[in-house]
Symmetry: C3
Subunit: 671 residues, 3 copies
């Protein structure tokens, strides 16, 4: 189990005592890995073609001598100033077509030949010098890829990508429906990336541009990795990802990356419901674990205390650091790493939490909590490599997200795709039911239940995929505003939800949007097959549907569509397909998904229900189960375990029956 | 009575079955007119000088064969991409002096010689080919003119326009009071359009720039129409206008346009008071009808269901489509037309309501409601050509609006001119009293009552116009913040309200602005001549005035100006002039304008009072009166008719005494 | 005592009767000084090298004949259009690197050689022609300096300034901690001013850029003054400053300016607490008086009624103009001057309050209140030259303000430095205790109490300054988030509050930020030495500290840090050092600072407590005390005077014991 941080000793060159003290403190804190070289280009190549690797040699040697491992970064996250000065083409051009000045980070053109050359040279030198260094256990490629460039190089690359995709302008014009507002292209040169002062409302263009940005970023990643792999193909590489990040489609990048890693900064103790915050964070972990089909990931960055860039930098209450870190492990992480080891003395992130504060010693609360966590982690080595076995998949599809957020539709003042997915996820999290969070094109055969909230875009094959899943006995749940458009945002003709209509056995005629504050009611129909008994509140979106084989389980209670179906189920093949027609409150999610879990025979981590704010999650290697019980509620809670013998993985005590968790406590039990 | 929609079959070129199906559906929906060719340039001239009119030939022929008429559009609303590529000068330059890229719509320079040439060529070809086509009944020139260009051509044209207006720089400097902040121009070349990074606070410049934009847009319209009229002078032309549109002064354009038309998209069922929403919409209809002195207008666009570009796309409840459409007719429209006939499959407006949904058939609620409305409309042919006979005029003056909104004054956080005009309008709407909504320079002799809320700008002749109106027996009502500046935003010297002071018999010494939440009270004075008895709340703006011949009807109740006049009347010549010194609540408007209507002997459509949310409006040809009773309240309402015999125009039944309107019901009664 | 206004008769050139009438009105209003020539460049030099001083000759001669004095302005606040047209380099370049167009005011490059030449020529001519004119009593240099330019000239000047400061790039890189994100500069040419599309988050760069802007503005001021002083060195010069203005560090400019003056526009009668508004305004006065160590300042601009550029232009209630003006005098002003004498007829500030309204006569409330104030001021000539003798200093440090507002830290959603300083100031204002508002580098030896809220930045020597102050018997108070960074925003290592730690006897381990709505409690510890007995609410920021010699006076009441110290005092040398760990409510400030004042033996203007909303302030020449009693509460209030004999300076009556002030009343009592 890895425990460590980003480390930039080159910031402390003028403070020569720091490195030695840091090594002492790393060992004291039970840290065994550091990410080094991130943003170090100016120290590695201070002038063009002048390389100064000596400090890195010393650093890695010192690590090795002290039993500390390293992820070695490629420094492409930020260029040195001399490169911007000499080769302005490396600077990014924003959508307004103005080239940036040197500054901030990233801010490079990923198409620029000069920048690519410079990266190849640097990465080749790093690989040749350090690939075989005994301290180095993997490549940390660049840092938090993101952003886009609209320079002429990128425009050309975009056009080439489009030619490859569509072959003819006519096909492109059809796919983007350019006849609308006379946007028909008559030459490839007329195609430009979206711009605030140019084209911004051709959704097919917007979508393809986002696809191209992912493509080109991945191409740049491949370009970065090539010289690294040339030297030592078996050295794994990662590129750290970000929370619910929208600009890149990580699902398209996962195959190329050896190990998924991500940077997690939850807003613990904010003013939202603690269960929502914890479930939201859990969903992110599950998303990253699911990117490579359950392969454990790395928590590459987190903060031991607080960030400095969120609106409110709130301290973690005692215990929360341990809980937050082990939550990552519970959901599949094989590491807990921080940004950063030592707070920088100046510049923009100097107040970002770190293991070593400006204080410079171990004598503060944060260091002590890191140290204790380090001890706990050191007892979890056997969890490394195990995974989570989920019977449920939630579809969280990035292309769908791009499309549903971009397309002007029923609720421009807030369509809330991400929140809606999270609310569906939370209903399982509250039950201790493991969930995979996946792209809509993934194989569904391993799941009992698939939930696809707002599956607005149904790409080629996806409808068939769902249909087959249900036919073979699966339970499929989707909602209003699903089955609307194809891969280029062209609407399905002949009736919504398009390719899902047959599976669901309903037809959606029209959808009503409600203003904030307006509501409808959803009343269950007596003796419905799921045994629902409540009455729920609907808001924001109400779909007006007709039954085409499905049966209604609930109906609207007011407005002109009172009495029309609000929740339906269709028996289809061996399975069932549910349609939730309205956006409902939490009480609906709670009751509906509990009944559904019972009906589908889903496994709950503790076998039964959980107190509010408590999460239960299992990692397993097929033989051994590691049950993580986590209390986010802020109060003491009692949990009843399923029958069986458990062993507390920290204390070694045998446990059964009831377990008490104090506030922010976490227990790892081995079954 | 016309019933139809915008239609773009060229979007469906690859779906050859669509046209035939559409013709079937048009007839089924009782549609008799389509607007075609809007945004069709890329299909009419796919490459420079290559024209492809065949599809349009076929379309118009098919229409003719099926008894459907067409408004034929000039396609200048959007250029083809090849034109932007070859002649960048056709692209608009924004106020920041950056030239746009190709994209969106409009986005052209209306001064560009190249663009004007291209428009002439296109419009000449259209006129020559289609002016005599039996299906074509009028020209739909461009689409929703708007926007401005700051390119060098436009700067030159602006300077020429200013030279023509002011003759000398000295006159311009005086008119704009440029000595302030040393802005004196010493050469014409120094004059530039307003810019966020240049001049933005010389109000005279801002006003003249807006005037120039209207001038240049009108000049472009004339340029568009010229080749059309050259072929067939008697073919009428229209240019569709927009709701309370501020950037253009439509009053200056109305003479050149044969038929006024506009595009109406009310926010029915939003969270505001239904009466306010209905009155606001009615005021727009009245404004457009008044532009050509009562000549009926066309409702050129509306939605049969919902839009896709408003914050919330709310469905119209059953009946509201009929009610909303007949409201337009009640206020003077001789058509009900939609954007659009068939929902486009892709691009930015694919979810904008249409007669034919993506479903593609007649089997949905929206189509059925359109069909029913079509039946109703087909029985109203004799209403065509009749108009509304108003005894009341509300001054809604675009130049005043520009000036009062731009000039930094008493309440920069919200001076609310448009809302204030609407509130005054609503007081008559609630009584069933017909209103014209006019520019301040219009002839007033036909009116009994003229209301001019916040007539901040009083241009040359306007004060004299009002004075003569009152002298001759009219009742004039104005408010605080009137009579402040002349045509170039120079303040009147010697005492406000300047040219209105004598007529009103008061002097405004100073004006107090109240923060949101702060209020004053307005108390009527016992035995006042209007018989007012209430006490009202004042907010936002309180004018401190002195009587100069007028008498006070009410006074302030608090603050240091308690006891000073808050409402006055001046007997002047044969008439009366009222001054409302404070911004008051709705209860004031209700009582004051009811008493005023009684005093002035105004005609109410039903002779008496109306339930809340019910509107009554009369169209007449002088002999026959068509009384429209419209229920916007969302509940059933009983209306008492004036004495006389009425015939229900749909059922043919005789009606008298009481009439009941169910929710969203509308009745047309012929007297 | 000066009483007057800005006056621009050149706006009224075409209204020749205006000047004579204005002279009559000035005398009637008891005005004795006018500021002329502000923004008059286009009238003084209408074409390049053509000068027209005749109107100014006549103006000043007329003043002299009528006993009116003048501040003569240099016209650099706005250039004539011909200069922008011929020499674009004089136009300012914004941070986005786009050069402005001609317009607005200022908007010049203060580095441009051309602009500097033009200023020298103009100022030389003004000095040669008018320095000896008997009406002229001082130079009004430019107007409200502000803004910055990013052109190439300014970039070069910035680099030169940096070279002078740091000598080597290595020193600059260290000071700015550029190693973070690889920002190391390897050539001076790489250094550029901050930009939204370039570097924006290197805090050391941001700080030094702001310092450079002050430096360059001061350099421009010196350039302006040089030709003026060359002709008549003893003629005083001022440059009018602005309310709590952040972009310039006035403390660095004060030595070069002979007399401080400022422009005050309080939001009287807004929705905030009247005491807060009055205290905030008083604090500004004290800040400007303290800039030159107590030397009286000039109220160079104020409004006799309202402004036209604030969100709400609210009238001053009767009496408030007198009260507001005498408040300035009470805090050290030797003048009451207005923007402006006569409302301009057009352009952006035509509705800004003035002595002479568009009405054009003396027959309105505003003129009469100005006249009465003029009479009152004419009786206060002996107050001129006296000052305020403060025993308390509040540190309000502009560089600290820049740093604490720019640096991303515990509360990016609102760190509220200015409000916090004001709240501390208000606690003394409510007690009638005089306060100086000073930079952290000022000499502290004259004070009994020094309060430094949020002294985030402690520059070289400042910590030592505070330490010496306490050692010698002073009482020092500081708060959370103090002692964090040095002069270039590098954090202190080894424990916060860095250089203040020893003096305060505490160590700050970490700081918690609370979301809006979250609170903690502060409970006093029984028998604390100050005698505090209350319980207070803490919000927003709670510092978690450890005692290192200090004793706790209060502790937190909740969250995981309940029981930890929230208020401490350290006996150090002869003095005491208090640390307020949390941001507390007003009840804390009230009780704490009253007890502290008692303990430190501070002098209260009336010897005792004051009713809420009443302020008492003393000006003195060491022998005579002038006690200003001012009632901002909006209600009548009784004040008990300290023992002694007082004379009402207006009525001449003897006063002792109790004094009653009606609403907005002010009394000046001579002791």
């Amino acid at each position: 189990m890895l425990h460590g941080a980003d480390y930039n000793p080159e910031q402390w060159e003028k403070y020569p005592e720091v490195l030695e003290e840091d090594i002492r403190l790393m060992k004291l804190a039970n840290c065994n890995v550091m990410s080094v070289g991130i943003f170090s280009w100016a120290k590695l190549e201070p002038e063009e073609a002048t390389f100064t690797f000596e400090w890195m040699d010393k650093l890695l040697d010192t690590f090795h001598e002290n039993g500390i491992f390293a992820f070695l970064a490629t420094p492409s996250g930020a260029r040195p100033a001399w490169m911007s000065e000499k080769y302005p083409e490396v600077l990014r051009v924003e959508a307004n077509r103005v080239r940036n000045l040197h500054g901030l980070r990233h801010n490079h053109c990923y198409t620029s030949p000069v920048y690519r050359d410079k990266v190849t040279t640097m990465n080749t030198k790093l690989a040749e010098r350090y690939a075989e260094h005994p301290a180095v256990i993997g490549w940390h490629v660049s840092n938090e890829y993101g952003g886009e460039c609209h320079c002429d190089y990128c425009q050309e690359a975009f056009r080439d990508w489009l030619k490859e995709k569509y072959q003819t302008l006519d096909a492109l014009n059809d796919a983007w429906w350019t006849t609308f507002w006379s946007h028909t292209y008559s030459s490839w040169a007329q195609v430009e990336s979206p711009a605030p002062h140019g084209e911004s409302m051709v959704h097919g263009l917007n979508l393809d541009w986002k696809r191209f940005v992912t493509h080109q970023t991945l191409d740049f990643y491949r370009h970065e990795v090539k010289p690294l792999k040339a030297v030592k193909p078996e050295m794994p590489a990662t590129a750290n990802f970000m929370e619910l990040f929208e600009p890149l489609n990580y699902a398209k990048m996962a195959d190329d990356i050896d190990i998924i890693s991500w940077d997690s900064y939850p807003l613990w103790h904010d003013t939202s419901d603690p269960s929502y915050r914890a479930a939201y964070t859990a969903m992110n972990h599950d998303w990253f674990r699911s990117l490579k089909d359950g392969q454990p990931f790395l928590l590459m960055e987190s903060t031991p205390s607080l960030t400095n860039w969120q609106p409110i930098s709130k301290l973690k209450k005692p215990g929360m650091h341990n809980l937050s870190s082990l939550q990552a492990v519970a959901h599949g992480s094989d590491s807990v790493q921080y940004f950063q080891w030592r707070k920088s003395r100046g510049s923009s992130e100097k107040f970002h939490g770190a293991v070593v504060d400006h204080l410079g010693s171990e004598h503060n609360r944060v260091f002590q909590e890191v140290k204790e966590l380090g001890e706990n982690l050191s007892q979890l080595d056997e969890v490394v490599g195990t995974t989570v076995d989920a019977e449920v998949a939630i579809i969280f599809d990035t292309e769908n997200r791009w499309a549903v957020n971009d397309s002007q539709g029923p609720r421009n003042s807030g369509v809330h795709y991400e929140r809606t997915v999270t609310e569906h996820y939370q209903a399982f999290w509250e039950q201790g039911i493991a969930v995979d969070v996946i792209d809509s094109e993934k194989d569904l055969s391993k799941y009992k239940v698939v939930v696809a909230p707002m599956l607005y875009m149904v790409r080629e094959g996806v409808g068939e995929n769902m249909e087959k899943f249900v036919k073979n006995g699966g339970t499929f749940v989707t909602t209003y505003w699903s089955g609307i458009v194809n891969e280029t945002d062209l609407c399905f003709l002949g009736g919504f939800p398009g390719p899902l209509r047959k599976t669901l056995g309903i037809w959606s005629e029209e959808i009503d949007a409600l203003y904030d504050g307006q509501t409808n009611h959803v009343k269950v129909i007596g003796n419905n097959e799921l045994g629902l008994s409540g009455e729920y509140q609907a808001k924001e979106l109400c779909d007006l549907i007709h039954l085409e084989g499905a049966q209604a389980l609930a109906q609207y209670g007011s407005d002109f569509y009172a009495g029309r179906p609000a929740l339906t189920v269709n028996d289809f093949g061996q399975g069932k397909a549910y349609y939730i027609a309205s956006r409902n409150d939490r009480s609906f999610h709670k009751e509906f998904f509990e009944k559904l879990a019972d009906q589908a025979g889903l496994t709950r981590a503790t076998g039964g229900t959980l107190p509010v704010g408590v999460s239960a999650q299992v990692r397993t290697d097929g033989e051994n189960d590691y049950l993580f019980l986590m209390n986010f509620s802020g109060e003491s809670q009692d949990i009843t375990l399923a029958e069986g013998e458990y062993q507390d993985h920290v204390t070694g005590e045998a446990v059964s029956g009831n377990v008490t968790l104090t506030s922010y406590d976490v227990k790892v039990l081995k079954k």
